[in-house]
Symmetry: C2
Subunit: 157 residues, 2 copies
DNA sequence: GCTTTGCTTCAAGTGCACTTGAGGGCTTTA
DNA sequence: TAAAGCCCTCAAGTGCACTTGAAGCAAAGC
């Protein structure tokens, strides 16, 4: 059933990003480290620093830790979450919906059902999109072949 | 070679939408008709009438026929083109790039090579996106399964 | 010590893809 | 003949997802 760290009754403080954050490629990150500046995270994720701040501001990030002098310190958990956000963005989900999901995550286990429903709807949409894109791939290849053939035999026989 | 109407040295007037417009589902359209109002096309395509006008204005449509009193009359050829545009939009291609492609189409056979290159780049991008979405599907399913399992067995073990 | 580098907040600006509004014309139905 | 419905153009407005600018703090290098 998904072999990831199921620490949802969280020990210290970091809010549960989400249970089950395995599967799929992660962002590159240095080994044995769990604290990154916004600049580092920007580099890892390809998101700009302002975007990361904005994500936090609108509630798309589970509030980020701060260093003694007020600078953000992102943890691996945050990188996992950003990786998931990247995937959702890829599916075309509006940021507002992702924020909604993030709120549900913050509310804890009681929202499991609603979270599941959201992800199931998303899954259906993604599946549809994948099928359409595969159709589109066929269209593209047929056109590419046409152009290539026309190139070899200029002016239709 | 793609078995569609390859009339690129065009007989009467309608500009060559594109050679090779087969493959993939078309918009629904009444049989044996080749002239539709903007309202009908809006209904077929799901695009709004203003959007269709805007597409024409920015050069994304090969200029549309007009009736005696100046109203647009879209043909099946236009529907085919809009269907292709819909696919390109689905791939995330910016409208500006589609306009560029439309320009190439208007310029005729001499642009076959450039068109092929564009479509090849697009194909690569779409392929990448499909793979990422399939990855995302796996992530979604794993999370869905987690939530479903947690639902059946509330509070760990 | 002073400048550079990298971070901070808050507000305003940008780019894209449309959408909406204002003002008007033609054709069809009451 | 008058109102309804569908079309027209042109210009301005909207929503989303960021991006940029202004003003300032704080540790690091010369």
């Amino acid at each position: 059933m998904c072999g990831m760290t199921v620490i949802d009754g969280n020990p210290v403080q970091a809010p549960p990003v989400d249970a089950c954050v395995a599967a799929g490629a992660d962002y590159p990150r240095p080994d044995g480290q769990d604290s990154y500046t916004i600049g580092e995270v920007a580099e890892f994720t390809g998101l700009s620093a302002p975007t990361l701040r904005w994500y936090e501001q609108i509630g798309l990030m589970p509030q980020v830790e701060r260093s003694h002098n007020g600078q953000r310190r992102f943890g691996n958990r945050d990188l996992d979450w950003l990786n998931f956000v990247r995937r959702l963005r890829l599916t075309g989900m509006p940021v507002a919906d992702m924020v909604r999901f993030a709120e549900l995550v913050r509310q804890g286990e009681v929202t499991y059902d609603e979270r599941r429903e959201i992800l199931e709807r998303t899954r259906t949409e993604v599946l549809t999109r994948v099928l359409e894109l595969q159709d589109t791939l066929a269209v593209l290849e047929s056109k590419i072949n046409f152009y290539a053939a026309a190139h070899r035999a200029p002016e239709g026989a």
